[in-house]
Structures are given as structure tokens and as C-alpha cells.
Subunit: 203 residues, 2 copies
């Protein structure tokens, strides 16, 4: 069966475990890839063009914005970052599942520009758990953690724009549940019209 | 996590392999049960009340129809058969997944009376495969098989009322895919409002 490609947009509070779950998913599925962003910032020495980022000039980026060629973009520290529609469409046509990990504002841009994407919000089991995880990382001041928790609450209140809410408990369990969600998409009626047509055509 | 119960309505052409896939699913998941129908027909010797059917008089059945207490019902050979809302609601409250295997007309009745159900259509890989399966069963005349195939085509053309179209290849694969669909339902936004509320409440 020639499966239809998918764009999966994932958001969730910092520290909820997105990275570990997505890494496990990618490791276990050859057909699932991370989205590659386009950026105007300078390439660093250890970075690989086309793998870490697609590096372009500001002029090229601006022209692409004007031609509505991004599913989302944002400016950060005087540099632009965006997800090219062309990259997404090309990989969907190849039957790939593309994971785009992005914060809530970016996800809502994607929703406007690429409505056939599936939106999954990663939820911590509780804000207490999230706080503990951030503290245990031991990389940030309590003050910074407190800002992160406030942001987390704002993000969670905006999770109603997502198709799925995935509570992150263990990495194994969450990865299994994420796989279920992605696998289920292949069988949605909207994605099965071609199959129905083929069965009836060959009657 | 206290998971929400679900009603899963499954239809699909006779001979497409519904029985084998559902049996495997039930065997592997204690939390998944078959729906039990209510009927006005006489109990047979080997049948167990409450397991095979809920046996009631015609008067009781009629009174339940009038009170809109079925998610679907039908008359067949002078007897009535129906799925009581009470049975479904009770098991959903217990967090159970209830499988209701039913033909297309019944499924559309359920859609009207219990819209929160999930509708899955089991699709043969092709009508040729379906025909071969029916012939290999060796239980029916070619004439009867030809009627079944005509019915199958009619059912397939009505599959647009279903949420998912599951092509049945091997039993193992189909059961895995069916499990994915059922598991994914727990994470749908509509089923996660309580979780979001709990996380924010305990902030």
C-alpha cells in the first residue's frame, strides 16, 4: 500500500520531554524525518547545509515570504527562520512523515498555511512534574524556570487548537502513543479516498 | 491515567475478515469488549443471558423503542434486535472500549443516536480478493457469492460516512492498525479536555 505522507506539527512546554520522545520515534522509523528549516543566519562550522538548515540570503528569504512559500516563519535575533512549503510538499509526495517541532505561534501559522497537517500538543502530566524536570536538568536559575512555567501555562491554555493532546509519561509509552496517532492518520477517511476509488474502479 | 471509554462501530463486506481481526483484538485487550444486543427472539439452549444476548419480551422492546433507548435496532425474521444505550453508556463510564460490529444501515442509525462513537469501515484490498475469500470458504453457491459482492460494492460506496477506512490485509497487520486507531482516540482533543483542566487547575 502506497501510504500518503503526513506533516505532524508538535508543540509543548519546554522540559516536557519532546526531544527524547521524538528522537526515539525517528530512531525506530526510517520513514519519519525531521523538518529542515531555512534560515538567513550564517552557517556555523559544524553545520551541514540541507541537514541542519537550508542557508539562504535575506533577499532570497524575503522573496519567498512575498511569494507565500513558507508554512511558517519567524524573526529571531535579527535572523529569519522558516519552514519551506516546497520541502514539506516534496517529502509528503515521497510518502514521508515529517515532524515539525515548533512553539504555539508557529504552529498556528502552519494551521493557516497547511491545514492538512496534524497538530499534536505534548502535555506534562502536571506542572509540578514539569517544574521538577526543569530543576533536575540543573541548567537554569529558579527565576528562569519560573518564567518557563508561566510560558508553559500560557501554551497549555492555547492547546485547544491542536488535534491531539499527548500526556508525556515515560519515553517508551509516549513514543508508542505518538506512533499510534501517526499510524491512525493513514486510515482517516480523508486520506483513503484513493483506496476506495481503486477498489470500486477494479470491480 | 483514567482513560475515557469508547464506542467503536465496525462495518465491512461479508468475507473481508472482520471476525478474525476483531477476535484477535479482543483476545489481546482485556479492556475491549463486544457489544451485547437485546433481542425478542427465544433464547436457545446453549445461549447465555447477558453474554450472547439480553433477552426481553416484545412489549419491553417496543417500550424501549418508544423511549429512544436504543442506539440502533432492526427487525429480522419477525424478531427485533437492538443495542441498548444503557449498555453502551455503562461500559463507557467504566472506561471500556466497546466494539459494535454492524451493517451499514445500523451504523448510520448509531451515528444519529450516539454521535461520539467512532466509525471504522473494513475494506477488502480488492473485490477480487473478497471474491476469492468467499469462494475459498466453500460454504456458498457462486450465485450467493455474486449477491454478496453486489452488496459489498453498495456498502463500499457508502463508506464515506465512516471516520476510518481500514484495508484488511493480514490479520496481524490489520489488528495492529485497528489497535492504533483505537489507541489514538484517547488523545483526541475532544477527549482530553479533562486532562487539560486538571493540569491547569493544579498550577
Amino acid at each position: 500500500m502506497n501510504k500518503k505522507g503526513q506533516l505532524i506539527v508538535i508543540s509543548g512546554p519546554s522540559g516536557c520531554g519532546k526531544g527524547s520522545v521524538i528522537n526515539k520515534l525517528l530512531k525506530e522509523n526510517e520513514n519519519i524525518i525531521l523538518s529542515t528549516s531555512m534560515t538567513t543566519r550564517n552557517k556555523r562550522l559544524n553545520e551541514i547545509e540541507g541537514k541542519d538548515y537550508l542557508f539562504v540570503s535575506k533577499d532570497v528569504f524575503m522573496s519567498k515570504i512575498n511569494k507565500n512559500e513558507f508554512v511558517e516563519y519567524a524573526e529571531y535575533c535579527n535572523n529569519f527562520y522558516g519552514t519551506p512549503k516546497e520541502f514539506i510538499q516534496k517529502n509528503i509526495n515521497l510518502g514521508k512523515v515529517i515532524i515539525l517541532e515548533i512553539e504555539v505561534n508557529g504552529a498556528l501559522q502552519v494551521k493557516k498555511n497547511f491545514s492538512e497537517a496534524t497538530f499534536i500538543f505534548f502535555m506534562p502530566p502536571s506542572l509540578k512534574t514539569l517544574k521538577d524536570r526543569l530543576i533536575n536538568r540543573n541548567t537554569e536559575s529558579l527565576e528562569k524556570i519560573s518564567v518557563r512555567l508561566k510560558t508553559a501555562m500560557e501554551e497549555i491554555t492555547r492547546s485547544h487548537d491542536y488535534d491531539f493532546i499527548l500526556t508525556i509519561d515515560t519515553v517508551d509509552n509516549s513514543c508508542y502513543n505518538l506512533s499510534s496517532i501517526i499510524n491512525s492518520l493513514y486510515f482517516k477517511y480523508e486520506n483513503s479516498k484513493k483506496i476506495i476509488y481503486e477498489v470500486l474502479k477494479n470491480a
